[in-house]
């Protein structure tokens, strides 16, 4: 088929086409300015002195020596903060700067402002902390004991930030009726986001006393509220500008440098102030994927049909909430995976400790639960003697079934289709012959994992977006996007949607990145909801604008039926006569307010489980729309070193209709790579709250040599509530690799680990233990 009928006419963007990203040319040329790329003439540097004590009563700092460092302008502490000095999304429990208690080593105790980065570093090094050490709590089970020291005195009774308990059917008593029962415990590691752009931003207090903060963030509108509350500023005096992030993955879902920068900017009104955490500080101070302990028991009948599931999941949220309650709740909701299980007893806890802070990370609590559940499913398959895909197909949910927490699935449910596609795939069918080809001292194995991920904020918090689009006086379109693009490409997808509706090519479309002064609140770039929610709002806004333009043009041309008119790139055409006018001319006949349309969208919220504990509902249980997938990993194990290499990887995905195949693949491939890091190498050993890996030479990230070429398959789903049928894809790929590789390891060598990641040392020692 010929793609371009009129060679000289630009082709409007189309939904469904693999159009290269609009943000790529500036990025590839080094022209894109990230938050970290702002420098100004008389710019000051701000930085934080960290406590480096895991638990203590804070008495103050000694900054005498630091103040003498030439170029140091101010050293601020909690005493300089006028507001609540508390930040947090669900529970405001994290100070901007410590005032009463040090709760983890990364706590900030003082803010230093200096003329140069060198002076800043020197001064920070000279500050000493005065504190009375308290006994620390470093293990979750210890933290739960009656006599454990409380980490938050205002959270009386215990160190449990949030707990949840959901039962379905007969709960655990149903194990009595099971033919096969398997039981296991899983210890899952911390994972560092390791976005290449560390936490950074710059701020300035303008003449009208507005503090403008340009920051690498996923949550500009929430940041505005948090900064205002913590520092005691009126809401309208805080402005957040959010450029493209150099990666975020959940780690910038919440406050990092914002309030600190604002505090500095308030002190030095009119002067730009920059903060940029070094890699080590980023490790020490930022939230990470929660380390978790999962205890699972799964029972099935003689044919392998699941009867009962019991799960207990402990999430170490460290010193602060930082979305830890919500992470736990999502994990609890997904504890049983995409399966029909009539009887369940599911428990989860988010526990305060004096360890590093656990927070949002792509796949948000589900990665841990899936790691456990999918290895349980494999264990049952082995007992029953059915193939891993067969057992999953036998038990997979369909629309109309209830999930393991008892929620009836009412939206598109494509796990069955994903499993069928996987089962037909040549790699799966020919796996035995592939496995037989492992070289000497090597073994190969193939493992499966099924994944599921709920989208959006859940039943209570309104999951909304407000889109704004403008026809400019030059006749192009400007999409004002209030939701961040942290690298996942939603900004481009929005242009592709607007271009499709308005029949325009990229040269006539412009995206305005989030700025709380100009774009409209649209929630966070998180929860696999970004494109779904904002996209739905944008479709309405763009259609409204299109209708307005055509109507105005119909009036001008005295055409009775606006349907005779169509938008084409840069122009409006009267279809019967072929008469055309430029969009700039049409714009000239429209008032400025007429040329802008806005639309609001609120995502569907589940009316189910009304009796669930209100706090769990507030933290997001249950969801309405879920994405699904099946991952297959083919690995090779070096029996001499214990090293595992991933040779083949295949992911089948039901994430609704694909709007741009290239961006879809980007999300899946990138998510798998992070999941492979989680499976094989990424971990942060912590003793007494101190992280042993705080840089990239000790914390290993997957490189070009660790991630294979992956096959990404679209199962051809369609979600009627989604924009053009789309569902979220951002998070779900990250949950699959760990269990798929673990199951492949068992398939290869007959070993199962309890502690992850599957490093060569752990694999080797398991292999040795296994030898007769």
């Amino acid at each position: 088929m010929k793609r371009d009928a009129l060679p000289n006419q630009p082709r409007p963007l189309q939904i469904g086409e693999p159009i290269p990203r609009a943000d790529a040319p500036a990025k590839v040329a080094g022209r894109e300015h990230y938050a970290v790329d702002y420098y100004a003439e008389d710019m000051l540097w701000a930085g934080v002195k960290r406590a480096d004590i895991p638990h203590a009563v804070f008495r103050g700092i000694n900054s005498e020596e630091a103040e003498k460092v030439p170029g140091v302008l101010a050293i601020l502490t909690a005493k300089d903060i006028k507001g609540s000095n508390r930040q947090g999304v669900a529970r405001k429990d994290q100070p901007v700067l410590v005032d009463d208690r040090i709760r983890h080593r990364g706590d900030g105790v003082a803010l230093v402002i200096a003329e140069t980065r060198e002076a800043l570093r020197e001064a920070i090094g000279k500050i000493t902390v005065e504190a009375e050490p308290l006994p620390g709590v470093f293990d979750m089970e210890e933290a739960l004991k009656e006599d454990a020291p409380w980490i938050h005195e205002d959270h009386p009774g215990s160190n449990i930030l949030l707990k949840g308990h959901i039962t379905k059917g007969d709960g655990a008593t149903a194990f009595e009726t099971c033919t096969h029962v398997v039981k296991a415990t899983f210890e899952l590691p911390y994972q560092e986001h390791a976005y290449l752009e560390t936490e950074a931003g710059w701020a300035i207090t303008e003449e009208d006393e507005t503090v403008s903060i340009t920051v690498s963030t996923q949550t500009p509108f929430r940041d505005k509220m948090e900064v205002a509350g913590a520092l005691g500023l009126p809401m309208d005096k805080v402005r957040i500008i959010a450029p493209y992030c150099g990666g975020a993955f959940g780690g910038k879902d919440g406050i990092t440098v914002q309030s600190l920068l604002a505090l500095a900017a308030l002190r030095f009104s009119g002067r730009p102030i920059k903060m940029w955490w070094e890699r080590e500080e980023s490790f020490i101070a930022s939230a990470k994927r929660h380390q978790a302990r999962c205890r699972y028991r799964l029972g099935a009948d003689a044919t392998g049909r699941f009867i009962a599931l019991e799960a207990e999941i402990l999430y170490d949220t460290g010193a602060y909430d930082h979305l830890g309650g919500a992470v736990m709740a999502l994990g609890l909701e997904h504890a049983g995976g995409p399966y029909r299980i009539p009887h369940t007893d599911l428990k989860a806890w988010a526990v305060y400790t004096n360890n590093p802070v656990g927070g949002a990370f792509r796949a948000f609590g589900v990665a841990q639960a899936t790691a456990a559940m999918e290895q349980m499913v494999d264990r049952i398959a082995e007992k029953v003697g059915r193939s891993p895909l067969e057992i999953r197909r036998l038990n997979a949910v369909r629309r109309g079934d209830t999930t393991p927490i008892g929620v009836t699935l009412t939206t598109s449910t494509g796990i069955g289709r994903c499993l069928e596609i996987a089962e037909r795939h040549p790699f799966w069918r020919k796996r035995e012959s592939w496995k037989a080809k492992a070289g000497p001292f090597r073994k190969r194995g193939v493992g499966v994992a099924a994944v599921m991920h709920g989208m959006g904020y859940g039943p209570v918090i309104p999951d909304t977006a407000n889109a704004k689009i403008e026809l400019t006086s030059e006749g192009s379109f400007r999409v004002a996007c209030g939701v961040v693009d942290m690298g996942q490409g939603n900004a481009h997808t929005f242009l592709q949607m607007a271009g499709d509706i308005l029949s325009q090519d990229l040269s006539r479309l412009e995206l305005v990145l989030p700025d709380t002064a100009w774009t409209l609140p649209s929630g966070s770039a998180s929860a696999s909801r970004t494109t779904y929610t904002y996209g739905n709002a944008l479709i309405d806004a763009a259609n409204l604008l299109k209708e307005r333009i055509l109507k105005r043009c119909a009036d001008l041309w005295m055409v009775t039926d606006p349907k005779e008119l169509a938008l084409v790139p840069g122009r409006v055409r009267h279809l019967p006569s072929g008469r055309e006018t430029t969009l700039a001319e049409v714009a000239a006949f429209m008032d400025e307010t007429e040329r802008t349309t806005v639309a609001h969208y609120r995502a569907p919220q589940s009316p189910q489980l009304p009796d669930l504990e209100p706090n769990l509902r507030l933290h997001g249980i249950p969801h309405v729309v879920f994405s699904y997938g099946v991952h297959i990993a083919g690995i090779e194990v070096d029996l001499l070193t214990g090293a595992v290499t991933v040779e083949h990887y295949l992911a089948v995905n039901d994430c609704g209709n694909i709007l741009n195949p290239q961006l879809f693949e980007q999300q899946v491939q990138g998510g798998i790579a992070q999941g492979l890091g989680y499976a094989l190498m990424e971990e942060i050993p912590v003793t007494e709250g101190e992280m042993k890996t705080v840089n990239f030479s000790t914390y290993l990230l997957p490189t070009f040599l660790d991630v294979p070429d992956m096959e990404v398959i679209d199962a051809g789903g369609n979600e009627p509530t989604g924009p053009y049928g789309l569902k979220g894809i951002g998070e779900i790929p990250t949950s699959g690799p760990l269990p798929a590789v673990a199951n492949a390891l068992f398939d290869a060598c007959g070993i199962r680990l309890e502690r992850f990641p599957m490093t060569p040392e752990r694999v080797l020692s398991a292999l040795e233990g296994n030898r007769p």
């Binding site: 290269p20 420098y39 986001h193 150099g246 990138g670």
Partner: protein, 160 residues
């Protein structure tokens, strides 16, 4: 200390402390923000620049080491002003750019690879770029991009 070198085809000389890191010279003193810093300790490749055509980590180099050298940063790669170099174009088309923070370093490392080995295999590409970390893409589309760039350059009869 007075330091003279060629930067993106133009001679520059500046007065700099000899121990100033090159990444800071480029970003802060010369305003070339395309060179990124992501670890500061030589582990990620985000700060890669070409010095006499060879990839170097600008976070580990000191200003004095620039004396008399020919330095190319991402801003200087495309010769004809606005348009992108074929390698950059290939990164765009192949979908090798997500957050983009690793991209300048990847592109420059690719430039060197293709100048040495105009038609590398996928394995050779992975090997040659293995010092550059990308946290977003899973690398596959970067390998695709390098293959595409190699094709583009050979078609044009150019080398990187």
């Amino acid at each position: 200390m007075k330091i003279s070198f060629t930067l993106n085809g133009k001679p520059v000389s500046c007065d700099l402390p000899s121990n100033r890191r090159v990444v800071d010279v480029l970003r802060e003193d010369l305003g070339l923000m395309g060179t990124k810093e992501a670890c500061g300790t030589g582990e990620c490749g985000a700060c890669t620049i070409l010095v006499d055509g060879i990839p170097r980590l600008s976070c580990l180099m000191l200003a004095a080491q620039l004396e008399g050298r020919d330095v190319t940063t991402i801003e200087g790669l495309s010769k004809s002003g606005e348009t992108l170099h074929p390698i950059q174009q290939a990164f765009v088309e192949a979908g090798a750019v997500q957050c983009g923070f690793c991209t300048p370093g990847m592109v420059l490392a690719t430039t060197h690879l293709l100048s040495e080995n105009p038609r590398p295999t996928r394995e050779e590409i992975r090997e040659a770029l293995s010092g550059n970390i990308c946290r977003c893409t899973g690398y596959q589309k970067i390998v695709d991009a390098v293959e595409l760039a190699a094709e583009k350059l050979t078609e044009k009869g150019e080398t990187a």
